[in-house]
């Protein structure tokens, strides 16, 4: 009996290539989706055994899908298949209990290794990602709810004074929060934070 997989990636080239790779293996592509929104609906419709998720997609990131699943108490295995993952999404994915992370720029055979390991109930991360994840575990904690809100306000272009008014805190407290966020996300200033907020799933609401 094959393991049924939902493949979520906005690039048709990747979807067809992965499907081709899985032909003849213990895994089959039960369905595919090209966006975060359609992925949630497809999971309900298809009820796959595993979900293989891209991170950067239109209309929401793969991390949004993972977050939504876990919030609903859905613990089915999720594997992230991505061309690149920053520190913050990596930290959050780990905290949400992602089961596997495969990099598209490493050996494609590792996707099969990952699927087999996850099928056996183990966690499998790309070696580079595993090493970085271990480093980050000792360095950073994920953003708090308030910090996430503050990042979204910065991405909207609000000044510290306006952010303080919006959150009901002082300007000084906003500065303290920003320092902590810069440190956690590894950005140097608010311009970089604003530009990169959308990439890590924290764009303006």
């Amino acid at each position: 009996m094959t393991t049924r997989i939902l493949l979520v990636d906005d690039h048709p080239m990747i979807r067809s290539a992965v499907a081709m790779l899985l032909e003849g293996s213990d895994f089959s592509v039960a369905g595919s989706a090209g966006s975060a929104g359609s992925a949630i609906a497809a999971i309900g419709d298809i009820d796959p055994d595993m979900v293989v998720l891209d991170l950067a997609m239109p209309g929401g990131s793969g991390l949004d899908v993972l977050r939504r699943l876990r919030e609903q108490g859905d613990r089915r295995p999720v594997i992230i298949l991505t061309a690149g993952i920053d520190d913050y999404p990596l930290t959050e994915a780990v905290s949400l209990g992602v089961n596997g992370i495969v990099m598209k720029n490493n050996d494609p055979a590792w996707l099969l290794d990952c699927l087999k390991a996850v099928q056996a109930g183990k966690r499998w991360f790309d070696p580079d990602v595993e090493a970085r994840s271990n480093e980050l575990a000792n360095l950073r904690s994920p953003l708090t709810q308030r910090e996430r809100k503050l990042v979204m306000l910065v991405a909207r272009g609000l000044r510290n004074r306006d952010i303080a008014a919006e959150l009901g805190i002082t300007e000084g407290t906003v500065k303290v929060y920003l320092h902590a966020i810069f440190e956690k996300l590894g950005v140097a200033n608010r311009t970089e934070l604003a530009v990169r907020a959308a990439e890590v799933g924290l764009g303006p609401e």
């Binding site: 690039h11 990747i14 061309a83 598209k104 720029n105 494609p108 140097a188 311009t191 970089e192 530009v195």
Partner: protein
């Protein structure tokens, strides 16, 4: 741009005192009717006063510290000499009136209306008290006494008004308004230059940091040379106690305690070590500057006629520069944001097109490799093709990462990329190609990373195509302001070298090196040819 006055107020007061004292002595000596009292004593006193005035002038002419130190004692001595001369001289040759104006004007210039009023009140009170105690006598003529008292009161009122109306040493001085909008060149350097022009300084330093940022910008201007660099992360911004004049070699620091008092401090104990390490000269004027979103300080050095007047002007200059810097920050942020957006857009396009294509190609090649038909040579070729695709993809990912963050790349990462590239080139050209880096730490900007990739590819291609090389070695080394890149091969080398002629650098390499502002040299001997390239590298964190 307005510059400072021709002479600082300390020099004007000291010089005025010396001229008045000398003139007073000559006037009394030339007029046989003077002095009317204490003949020998008056000459001795005036001679001593001239000597004192000369000494003060020499001491304060180029020394703001002595100017501040001697201001109060000199003022008291002026008043004492004036009172004595007022009593000792009579008639139209008595220069009491000019002297009185000088004393009050000096107080107004140095301190303000309160000190001018106190000085005027003290002089008039002593004069009245002396007149009342002595009563009508040959020494005190009633009519003369009333006229002089009237003169003193009128002039006092005028000069107190003068002091109260915030007389400033340099009414013209200030950074002029400029049309709002982006300025040519670096806006921070332009702001510093504007401040330097206002105080007539030849050197300036500006340390500046966003209040929630981690990077400190260090702007330096010395004559025509100007630079703006980032101070290493983790360094703190030195704190200044306020606007101050300093002289490190004499351990002097002068600040205003309030409008009428100085604070004489030691520079070593007051100025942080981090502040001192950025200075080019021992003496200067330091002014903290803050806006709502950023803070820092500016230091002016090699200032023409540096004086205590600069401290009076400092608050206004700080306000003007803060406005300029705020505008500069705003425009820099807009520019940085648009550049960052452009970088991110290019990175996203590359990611969505080329990277995904290569990734898909990799999966397909893996699928083909696993198919039953892929055996023998076909299987090997598919495996090699897959490795090549993966290597190209990794190179591209590294470039995209640099584009997205705009951050420099560490030498470790660059060496790893270069080694990966050399492995790819080894397969591509069927040669032995390897890369090594002699430096263990350091950073290079994205631009240099790209240049290295292209130069290595091109140099290896040249070595194989034109020299028939079988072995190529790439060596990198980070120097203080350069990255040295040497590509050595075992090919037949350049014919020009064998014939003793000068070797023309390969055009394909030379064009890119020139664009990057670097240099390229070629050494060619029997069995060994080396292309030595030096690329400029900006300071990186």
């Amino acid at each position: 741009m307005a510059a400072g006055p021709l002479q600082p107020s300390g020099r004007v007061i000291a010089g005025g005192r010396l001229l008045l004292a000398s003139l007073f002595l000559i006037a009394v000596w030339a007029d046989s009717s003077q002095p009317t009292h204490w003949n020998a004593g008056v000459y001795a006193l005036l001679a001593a006063y001239v000597a004192w005035s000369l000494a003060v002038t020499l001491l304060v002419w180029n020394d703001w510290w002595q100017d501040a130190r001697l201001a109060a004692p000199a003022h008291v001595i002026d008043v004492a000499v004036f009172m004595t001369m007022l009593y000792a001289t009579q008639g139209y040759t008595s220069p009491y009136f000019t002297f009185f104006i000088f004393i009050l004007l000096a107080a107004a210039i140095r301190w303000g209306w309160r000190e001018t009023a106190v000085t005027a009140g003290a002089i008039i009170a002593i004069y009245l008290a002396a007149g009342l105690m002595l009563g009508p006598s040959p020494e005190i003529e009633v009519q003369d006494f009333i006229v002089r008292t009237g003169h003193l009161l009128i002039i006092s009122a005028i000069l107190i008004w003068f002091g109260a109306n915030q007389w400033a040493a340099w009414p013209r001085l200030g950074i002029p308004e400029e049309p709002h909008g982006p300025v040519a060149g670096d806006p921070f350097i332009a702001s510093l230059r504007a401040g330097m022009a206002a105080v007539d300084a030849r050197r300036g330093i500006l340390l500046w940091r966003e209040s929630v940022g981690q990077e400190i910008d260090l702007v330096r201007v010395a004559g025509e040379d100007a630079s703006r660099t980032a101070v290493s992360r983790g360094r703190s911004l030195p704190r200044l106690p306020g606007n101050c004049l300093f002289r490190l070699d004499k351990d002097r620091l002068l600040m205003r305690a309030d409008a009428s008092r100085w604070r004489f401090l030691g520079a070593a104990e007051t100025l942080p070590a981090e502040f001192r390490e950025h200075l080019d000269r021992a003496e200067g004027l330091a002014i903290p500057i803050a806006t709502g979103a950023a803070e820092g300080y500016v230091v002016f050095q090699e200032v023409r006629a540096l004086s205590t007047d600069h401290l009076d002007f400092a608050p206004r200059l700080a306000r003007d520069m803060a406005v300029r810097l705020q505008e500069a920050e705003l425009f820099a942020a807009v520019e940085e944001r648009s550049m960052a957006k452009a970088r991110v857009a290019v990175a996203r396009d590359l990611h969505d097109s080329v990277v995904q294509f290569l990734a898909g190609l990799g999966f397909r090649l893996e699928a083909l490799k696993r198919s039953p038909a892929a055996v023998g040579e076909l299987g090997d070729n598919l495996a090699e093709l897959k490795d090549t695709v993966m290597t190209e993809q990794r190179q591209l990912r590294a470039f995209i990462k640099g584009l997205r963050t705009g951050k420099p790349i560490s030498l470790n990462d660059l060496t790893r990329d270069c080694a990966s590239l050399c492995a790819l080139l080894s397969r591509q050209w069927n040669i032995d190609c390897a890369c090594a880096c002699k430096s263990e730490t350091g950073w290079v900007p994205l631009r240099t990373q790209l240049d290295v990739h292209h130069l290595v590819r091109e140099a290896v291609a040249n070595a194989v195509r034109h020299g028939g090389a079988k072995q190529v070695r790439v060596a990198m080394q980070r120097e203080e302001k350069h990255l040295s890149l040497t590509v050595t091969d075992d090919g037949q080398g350049f014919a020009a070298a064998a014939e003793g002629r000068e070797i023309a650098p390969p055009a394909s390499l030379n064009g890119r090196v020139r664009e990057a502002g670097g240099t390229l040299k070629v050494r060619s001997e029997a069995g060994e040819t080396a292309v030595v390239i030096r690329l400029p590298v900006e300071d990186a964190p």
